[in-house]
């Protein structure tokens, strides 16, 4: 069962180029059905999970490839499987204007399975395995257009990701050697008897592994790949580079911090301060770059960089509340960012405009798309009543509660970043809706909102943004139970 949800996307993906579809709609129906079915299966699995570990294979020594559903997996798998059907629906429409669809959908669907693999992995090795795999199956997606730009971007993506994994690997080794097991256990698995006297080395390796996994989560010195990877088709940038791939990085870091090294071991050490400073810097850095960037998707990519570090900031507070904050932002940011990316994609798809300064006056011609964009912008800023506020509240609350002086500074970073977010998001909104006195409306006369396949996901996401904003309690309660190990 648990393996089947990983395998179904694999099989579906491979079947796409194999089955000779006569009409395009047949392919669409096939894919969408498969994806939706798989999502339903995932949710069923999550809701009826048992605590047992499913052992797929012995790898080497005492290392296994095995899967298990625990609280964290429920969060991430649930998130991914909820978003994927919508993103696929959106991709159908978007990809009408791109070439080699089959290859695209092959890897797009494969990625679904791999991401679920990361989410459901029961131990560090399995997660690492799928983590590497994720890099590989997403490269063709980045390369999709095969322009020089795309090739350079995917090259960079590969270097960064594989390089990062190399250092994350060191963390894996440490856990293998110094831990009692590699399984994920909340509170960490390091064996105090083995680690005695080696604390500093372990901390150093932790920092390196953090940065290694942090590559996918676009932590500061290693963030350059993400904006460049924006050359990929928008469904990819939206789902993978705002949710699946980058959040896998964040997810991996949470696993590493809370479930492998353990917060008791790390809390209050120099390693915590080191990673926290990196994260805080990234929060501000990402935003500032976003403000400077004029390419719409790249701007959103920089925004993602900063927001990912929000999640990591929550994670490195290393308290249950911090984890709650991180998880809240993990989920809520996914909804907000995918929504804004889809809006950007819709604009590009309908108008072919890519730069912020070309968006003048579009608000009158695409009111639905840009209206939803505005909602997501406000949510990202953290306006109360929308999802972003709740997650920031949880993050900042956790930081304030932790009593860690650096975390107080982190709150300040969050707020500076919120301001910068306002700057880079609202300038777009203002341009779209208030193009200025001498704006010539003829330039936008033949532009209109996209069709329902694009709009439906947008509407659903915006509803969720608002819903999470005003009524987040059950979700946050669930995160709380995850963070305290109840689930």
């Amino acid at each position: 069962m648990i393996v089947s949800v990983i395998l179904i996307p694999f099989i579906t993906g491979i079947l796409v180029p194999v089955i000779p579809f006569r009409k395009r709609w047949q392919k669409e129906v096939f894919l969408e059905t498969a994806v939706v079915l798989n999502s339903i299966l995932v949710w069923f699995l999550l809701l009826h999970h048992s605590d047992s570990t499913f052992l797929l294979a012995h790898f080497t020594g005492n290392l296994n490839i095995s899967f298990r559903v625990d609280g964290m997996s429920m969060v991430f798998a649930g998130l991914v499987s909820a978003l994927w059907p919508f993103a696929t629906l959106y991709a159908f429409e978007y990809m009408t204007k791109e070439e080699h669809e089959n290859v695209f959908f092959l890897f797009y669907t494969l990625t679904y399975g791999v991401t679920l693999g990361i989410a459901l992995a029961a131990n560090l090795l399995t997660m690492y395995f799928f983590y590497e795999l994720l890099t590989l199956v997403t490269v063709p997606l980045v390369m999709h257009t095969l322009t020089r730009e795309a090739v350079l971007a995917s090259r960079k993506y590969l270097y960064y990701s594989l390089g990062g994994a190399a250092f994350a690997f060191l963390g894996l080794i440490m856990v293998i050697v110094y831990g009692s097991t590699t399984d994920f256990i909340l509170g960490g698995v390091l064996d105090p008897a083995k680690t005695a006297g080696k604390t500093n080395v372990l901390l150093l390796i932790y920092v390196m592994a953090f940065l290694g996994f942090g590559v996918k989560a676009a932590v500061c010195p290693f963030n350059a790949w993400l904006p460049q990877a924006g050359v990929a088709p928008t469904p990819v940038t939206a789902l993978l580079h705002a949710v699946a791939v980058v959040k896998s990085g964040a997810f991996a870091i949470i696993r590493l911090t809370y479930y492998s090294f353990g917060t008791d071991f790390l809390k209050g050490t120099w390693a915590q301060y080191a990673v926290m400073s990196v994260v805080m810097f990234t929060i501000v850095y990402g935003c500032s770059r976003a403000v400077k960037e004029t390419h719409l998707k790249r701007r959103l990519a920089y925004s993602t960089i900063s927001n990912l570090s929000y999640i990591l900031f929550g994670a490195v507070i290393m308290t249950p509340l911090g984890l709650v904050g991180a998880l809240t932002h993990l989920v809520f940011h996914a909804v907000m960012k995918i929504s804004s990316f889809f809006c950007a994609g819709a604009v590009m798809h309908q108008t072919g405009r890519h730069y912020v300064h070309e968006l003048n006056g579009l608000g009158y011609k695409m009111p639905r798309v840009l209206g939803i964009f505005t909602i997501s912008a406000l949510a990202l800023m953290g306006v109360p009543g929308l999802a972003g506020f709740v997650s920031k509240w949880n993050l900042a609350g956790a930081a304030a509660e932790s009593g860690n002086p650096l975390a107080f500074g982190g709150i300040a970073c969050l707020l500076v970043s919120a301001l910068l977010t306002a700057i880079y998001m609202l300038t777009i909104v203002v341009r779209a809706f208030f193009p200025g006195k001498d704006f010539d409306y003829r330039t936008v006369s033949d532009i209109r909102d996209p069709n329902w396949k694009m709009l439906l996901p947008l509407f659903v996401f915006s509803i969720f943004i608002i819903l999470f904003g005003v009524y987040s309690q059950p979700v946050v309660d669930f995160f709380m139970s995850v963070a305290t190990g109840v689930v």
Binding site: V390, G397, L419
Partner: protein, 495 residues
Amino acid sequence: MYLILLSILFPAAAGLFLLIRGRTPLSGEKGNTDRKTLLALTGCFLVITASLVFASLLTVKEGFTLFFLTKTLPIYFRIDGVGRLFSLLAVIVLPCAGFFSFAYMKHEERESRYYGFYLLVFGVLNGLCFAGNLITFYLFFELLTLSSMPLVLHSGSKEAVMAGLKYLFYSLCGAYAALFGIYFLYQNCDSLTFTTDGALRASAITQQGGFLLLTAFVMLLGFGVKAGMFPMHAWLPAAHPVAPAPASAVLSAVIVKAGVLAIIRVLAMFGKDFLRGTWVQSGWIILTLVTVFMGSLLAYREPVLKKRLAYSTVSQISYILFGLAVMDETSFTGALFHVLAHGFVKAALFLCAGAIIYKTGKTRVEEMRGIGKEMPLTMWCFTIASLGLIGIPPTGGFVSKWYLALGSLESGLPVFGVLGPVILLLSALLTAGYLLPLTIHGFFPGADYDYGSLQKKEPCKLMTVPVFILTFLSVLIGLFPNLVDGIIVMAAARR
């Protein structure tokens, strides 16, 4: 409870309705008939909202929780004394300026957008005044910024857009600084519901006192942005002049006061006893005094009328803040009184300026020689309102400044107790210096003025009546301070 909700949601919904309805730019014949229905609708909405607010002010006593944002964050509404006072100001100024706009906005485009946001602002302001805890307040504070920004950049000129963005970013910056404090208040208070005498846990004060002081200061600075306090006042003179005159009136008279309201709330949350005598208080007083003096000085040097009024707002709001910073009952009363007095006066002044611009197109002070001959009614109102701002006895401004100075002297603060009133006086002199020349040159243009070309340019009733009402009110509260006192005493003592 439904009254409160209605008075928030109705104008907001009405505003959204107007926004959605009038998407295309108005033009031609059809535009004219459209305009009439638009105005009628807006008028109705304004009146209904105002009556709703009055009704809730009079009848609602109990607070209620609407829903929980997160487990521990209720969206909670309650009408208390301070809220009532500010709501009163809003509910008078907004319809007045609204009706004024009916005439004024004739020469601007895209009216439905303007009215849409105007009504939105109205609803948000009501929410702000009725908010019963810090989170609800913060919610509406952010929304206020967002919904009032389109009013600033309404004209769509490059300058206006830049000013609008500046306003937005300054305000958000302030709001986030305040949010920083809210996070820590939340950690160190049992609840964020507004109180009168400090909500901090005693243990928190002993353990983290120093840090909490810093937090308080950051919050004061943050909310002070909206109130145009010194280091972050630059948005105000940029935003006010480019906005349409009635919008500037609302901004200056009411929206800026949201910052004041916020600071009153913060003060209450931290508790005066906690802040009194600390570096936070002295730092804050210094900032307000600097702002008072600097604002007046800049206004004195400013040739453009609306900009001059904007600087004047900077200075006057800090009168209020000074009154709060002294943390004395009397000065607190003075501050609250000044909220009303300045609100009415400044709205009247801006509307006058708007009328002048509308009729003559003149924006600079030196162009306005003989304006009193052209528009006597308007200029009379302008003069009376100016006197109110300077603080000449029969007007409200006198009463408030009296209380402010008295409170400051009573407070027994080492230096500022005396220095404060001195600076207030100096600033009053400067106020006279920058406002009265208009009256003087307006009515007495001098021997070389060409009476031949003089023609009556008195604006229509839609413009003059709101100005009258506001001027009248500013004098009324000066003549019968007890009318207001009831509310203020209630606000000062049992909020």
